[in-house]
């Protein structure tokens, strides 16, 4: 009798647990960002200006690699897309407080950022490259040349360029700017030796100001995975975005778009 009773009790507990697990799963799915996006019919994307990832053309329309990615994502989901331009330094806090559903803004995965957000699988890789002043950095041709205490390097605050300089050029002095254009301006006036930023911006700047600036070495000195960032603990959404990235990656669509924005300058007339 005792045996039968204990079996019944165990069965009841198991049944109860599975019912409970079902309801947890159901509510998780219902509360996932992806469900919310589908229900309301538009996706809110947080981004910040980074040429050529995302920028405003002269009429104020958003263009760039990230913009293409977000638009295609929305199209595949069957919803409209809404971009929310944000200052880079406040982009993660604004995601956490719910200003938008996802950051698609050329954000590199870092362990530090990963403490606050969840990242998808990478949909792009980027690396740091360097552009230097012809006179101030005369004869500099490798990374070690910049790792001296009298070398000053300008970067955009809060970017992976900042941490890359700290890691690879610990002896150099850092000068932080809110915007990359300010850093470039500082370089043009010759107050710093070089600017470190994600490729291809340094190369573009060297072409634009070929009389003053040069690229000391061609290859990038870091390799950084770029991913979407979403609020923590939303497996459903994470899975959806991961699958989407896998699909467009295998289609070759990502590479094609990347070539357009990074290896051609066909889009430049939109800014001129």
């Amino acid at each position: 009798m005792k045996k039968v009773l204990s079996v019944v009790v165990v069965l009841l507990i198991m049944f109860g647990a599975s019912v409970y697990a079902d309801s947890v799963r159901e509510s998780l799915t219902k509360e996932s960002t992806i469900e919310k996006i589908l229900r309301r019919g538009y996706i809110k994307v947080g981004m910040s200006t980074f040429v050529p990832w995302a920028m405003q053309d002269k009429n104020g329309n958003l263009i760039g690699f990230e913009i293409d990615v977000a638009k295609r994502l929305a199209q595949d989901m069957g919803v409209k897309v809404e971009f929310i331009p944000t200052k880079w330094s406040g982009i993660i806090p604004a995601l956490l407080t719910g200003k938008y559903d996802v950051i698609i803004g050329g954000m590199g995965i870092t362990p530090e950022r990963n403490k606050k957000v969840n990242f998808t699988i990478p949909y792009d890789y980027s690396g740091m490259s360097i552009v230097a002043h012809k006179e101030k950095a005369k004869g500099f041709s490798k990374l070690e040349d910049f790792n001296k205490s009298d070398v000053v390097i300008a970067v955009r605050i809060g970017t992976t360029a900042e941490s890359a300089v700290k890691k690879y050029l610990p002896n150099a002095k850092l000068k932080l700017f809110d915007d990359e254009s300010q850093a470039i301006q500082e370089l043009l006036t010759g107050r710093v030796h070089a600017v470190v930023a994600s490729a291809p911006m340094p190369a573009f700047q060297a072409i634009e100001h070929s009389d003053k600036l040069f690229v000391p070495f061609k290859e990038t000195f870091t390799k950084e995975p770029i991913a979407f960032a979403i609020r923590k603990g939303d497996v459903d959404t994470l899975n959806y975005f991961n699958s989407w990235i896998t699909i467009v990656e295998s289609e070759g669509w990502l590479k094609e778009r990347k070539d357009y924005w990074f290896n051609s300058k066909d889009w430049e007339q939109l800014l001129k």
């Binding site: 309301r40 200006t49 040429v51 002269k58 200052k87 719910g98 200003k99 470039i184 043009l188 700047q205």
Partner: protein, 289 residues
Amino acid sequence: MKKVKFKRIDILVLSILLIIVFYVFYRINIYIDYHWQWHRVVDYIINKDENGYHFGLLSKGLFYTLKLSLWSIIFSIILGFIFGTFRSFKRPFFRFGSLVYVEVNRNIPPLILIFIFYFFISDQIFTLLEVEYFIRNLGETTREIISIFFAPPNLISSFFAGVLALSVFESAYIAEIVKAGIESVDVGQKEAAKALGLSKYQVLRYIIIPQASKVIIPPLSNQCISTIKDSSIVSVIAIPELTFQGMEMMSATYLSYETWITVTFFYFILTFSLSLLNKRIEKTYTLNF
């Protein structure tokens, strides 16, 4: 209007100023060897394609600054008058309430106020009230009108947060101006009005406010100009006003000098035309009393 007479010293000062301006441009050209590209700026103000003319990035920013300043000025004047008159009341509740309001808001930097409103009011309260959904669910035309006078749905909560923060900040100063104006009215005026049997409200409405206005209007118009200038701080919460658009344009084109000279000029047009308008208002107002 008095005739302006130039003396030797004025001419000297003016020429020194001109020399300084030219020297700055000269330095920019020589020292940093800057390639001016003014023709590219024009497209960011107004440009043309096969569909006709379009307002550029900067013009759109100017329009946002106008909207932002206008609403902030209206709300800050309303709040400022309420709290300013409260200061003159005898009841401690009103007196101290408004004193606390003025002191708290005057002693918080406007940038911090904007973050408080952005992260607290617009995130917590607007989300709770579902302001965004409410606006999205309105009819097409209503939504259109809201977009023109305020901002499109995706920006509406930041826009309101910006307007509120600016209004609250500026109203603290306006309250002081209003208070000073009311205090400038002679006590005898109030007593005489009371003796005539006017009610408290009537005393305020017909005796005090009209006389105080003369003292209030000049500093008040000054505060309005300040509001336009202060509105540039809301660029930190990414409202696409003039300063934010200037930064966007600079990030995209790297034309730092051209961008900021143009943005400065736009702000100058706004503030200068407002101060001309204010002069006219002051004149007509002082003539009427």
